[in-house]
């Protein structure tokens, strides 16, 4: 097990030599096995032979979410389906999800980076851990689960929901580490209070949070009301799931497991690399994945990199907590939502595209989303029942496609504000809350 931790402390020269080797191998591998990358590279007349330094990575083309959508479901896999032992899905920009595929080797790799995550946070085999991220197509639950088992901790695979039972198990099992989305945690804290359970008197000592952005104010609240030290972790399905980076006990940024996931920061407008310490869009290249490697994947997350030594002693570089996105994706109760998905849903129900608006707010701990739709002559029915059916159809379809319960509100035409003739699609009232 000790070999595993050593990887976070490799001298930079050794690490960078390893990265270059792995990068060249990966570029050759995808060029030979994935038509999408072969085409892109042929267009630019570039092969693995052109990668002689890490800086040469900038000559490789970017990959974006839509590339995964266009190659749905398995077009970006580098191995025959028979070698894929796991698939996971995440939201795409329209109706179809993003699909990730994992070989047995990838599952081991994933378990390893998650185990390193938990170790750097201070979790040990003696901890009783409760995993409240969703188990299923979502990467959160199973990602954490395999990492905890690899570490040797005791795992309670409760997934999301069942909140009263969560509180009961925290008491009865003596849970020491709880992990989930920060907003669900706040909800659980509220429910525990209603149940008359004082979480600060429990054996809880660590909280681990990810899958959605959260503020320092939320961190303080969780730490106070749960009596835990709260840590941030980061990941994305296209790269692997959780396990791309994590805070260590020093909490000076998130360490990226860059022996597996090579990071760059680029200017979101010019797409040119920017120096360390400058904010920009995080771009990741997987250099060890077998099932579905990605080359220069644009995450749309805004952050910056530091390559200096961390107080914890680790040499792997750090990223700041993500400060925003370069696209219009929203994260609501841990679920990725693109306004264009709502558009596609409305189009599929009515055959028309009425003006709509997404209003997001947070009342208490949970994100709340309301979809406002302007009623047009073309689908206005004289019968209340028909309009209510329409409302319900939109609500149900959103729930089915996104896995999110929202409210739908019908509005008069012209009531959704426009700027330059275009309706303002999203109003997010959560900022700073």
């Amino acid at each position: 097990m000790d070999d595993l931790w050593v990887k976070d402390f490799l001298p930079r020269e050794q690490l960078e030599k390893l990265q270059l080797e792995r990068l060249r191998k990966t570029v050759a591998y995808v060029r030979q096995n994935v038509p999408f990358y072969a085409r892109n590279m042929a267009e630019r007349r570039i092969t693995e032979d052109d990668i002689s330094t890490l800086a040469d990575i900038r000559h490789l083309p970017f990959t974006v979410k839509n590339d995964l959508r266009d190659n749905y479901p398995f077009g970006l896999f580098a191995v025959p389906l028979e070698q894929i032992v796991r698939t996971h899905c995440s939201s795409g920009t329209t109706g179809k999800p993003i699909v990730a595929g994992y070989t047995r080797g990838d599952i081991d790799l994933w378990s390893e980076v998650m185990a390193r995550t938990f170790h750097m946070i201070g979790v040990t085999p003696r901890d009783i851990t409760q995993v409240a991220w969703g188990y299923g197509l979502f990467t959160g639950g199973l990602g954490a689960h395999y990492g905890l088992e690899r570490l040797g901790a005791t795992v309670i695979p409760i997934s999301g929901g069942n909140t009263e039972k969560q509180v009961m198990l925290i008491q009865d099992f003596g849970v020491t580490v709880w992990m989930g989305t920060p907003s669900y945690c706040l909800y659980l804290i509220e429910l525990a209070k209603q149940m008359g359970v004082d979480l600060t008197k429990m054996k809880l000592r660590i909280g681990i949070f990810g899958a959605e952005p959260w503020t320092e104010a939320m961190r303080d609240e969780i730490q106070q009301r749960m009596n835990v030290k709260a840590y941030d972790i980061y990941g994305l399905t296209e790269v692997i799931g959780p396990g791309v980076s994590s805070e260590c006990e020093a909490q000076h940024g998130l360490h990226i497991f860059e022996d597996h996931f090579y990071p760059e920061i680029v200017d979101p407008k010019t797409l040119e690399p920017v120096p360390d310490g400058t904010e920009g869009e995080l771009v990741i290249t997987t250099i060890t994945k077998q099932g579905m490697p990605v080359i220069r994947f644009r995450t749309r997350d805004i952050t910056r990199l530091t390559r200096g030594k961390c107080p914890c002693g680790r040499s792997v570089c750090r990223m700041d907590r993500v400060s925003g996105r370069t696209d219009d994706m929203l994260i609501i109760r841990g679920v990725n939502v693109f306004p264009s998905q709502i558009e596609a849903i409305l189009l599929s129900i009515e055959g028309t595209q009425p003006h709509y608006q997404i209003v997001v707010d947070r009342q208490g701990s949970m994100d709340d989303m309301e979809v406002r739709v302007e009623v047009q002559d073309s689908f206005f029915s004289d019968k209340i029942r028909e309009l209510e059916k329409f409302e319900a159809a939109v609500r149900t379809k959103i729930e089915n496609v996104l896995g999110l319960r929202v409210r739908v509100r019908l509005m008069e035409p012209g009531s959704i504000e426009r700027s330059m003739g275009k309706a303002k699609r999203v109003i997010d009232q959560r900022k700073g809350k």
Binding site: Q376, D377, F380, D382, K383, I384, L410, M411, E412, G414
Partner: protein, 143 residues
């Protein structure tokens, strides 16, 4: 046989109903009958007006979502049991009523009801057979 009715979508916030009425008033259009069906979030305002075509334009011009559809105006005897008798005929003929509301006719000065049926033609047949008077457009609008 049919009378044109305007139906419009109204949000449940103050001033919307007044705005609709003002839009009609500005074009010198008279409201003869009105019904407001509402849910918690929105309402459908149904109107019989003196000039349905101009009325439709006036409301559209004021930015409302509005459609025109056909309803039937049925004469009711102005005494206890008048409405029950009509509903009895409809029920025996298995005619489904979507909605209804009352109004007074200019011409005949009798109680009358606006009906929207699931099947307007079947309703006319059943009512005529039972000698129940279905008012014409002229009866209703007085012109």
């Amino acid at each position: 046989m049919f009378v044109k009715q305007l139906s419009m979508f109204i949000e449940n916030r103050s001033g919307r109903l007044a705005a609709a009425c003002n839009a009609l008033a500005r074009k010198k259009i008279n409201i003869l009958a009105l019904s407001l069906a509402d849910t918690a979030d929105f309402g459908i305002l149904r109107l019989i007006v003196s000039d349905p075509d101009d009325g439709h334009l006036a409301l559209k011009g004021a930015g409302f979502t509005v459609i025109t559809n056909d309803v039937l105006a049925v004469q009711v005897e102005d005494k206890p049991g008048g409405l029950a008798a009509i509903l009895d005929v409809l029920q025996k003929a298995k005619i489904n009523v979507e909605y209804m509301y009352a109004f007074s006719s200019i011409k005949t000065k009798r109680a009358a009801l606006i009906f929207r049926f699931e099947d307007n033609d079947a309703a006319i047949k059943a009512l005529t057979k039972a000698s129940i008077g279905v008012m014409s457009k002229v009866d209703v609008l007085g012109q």
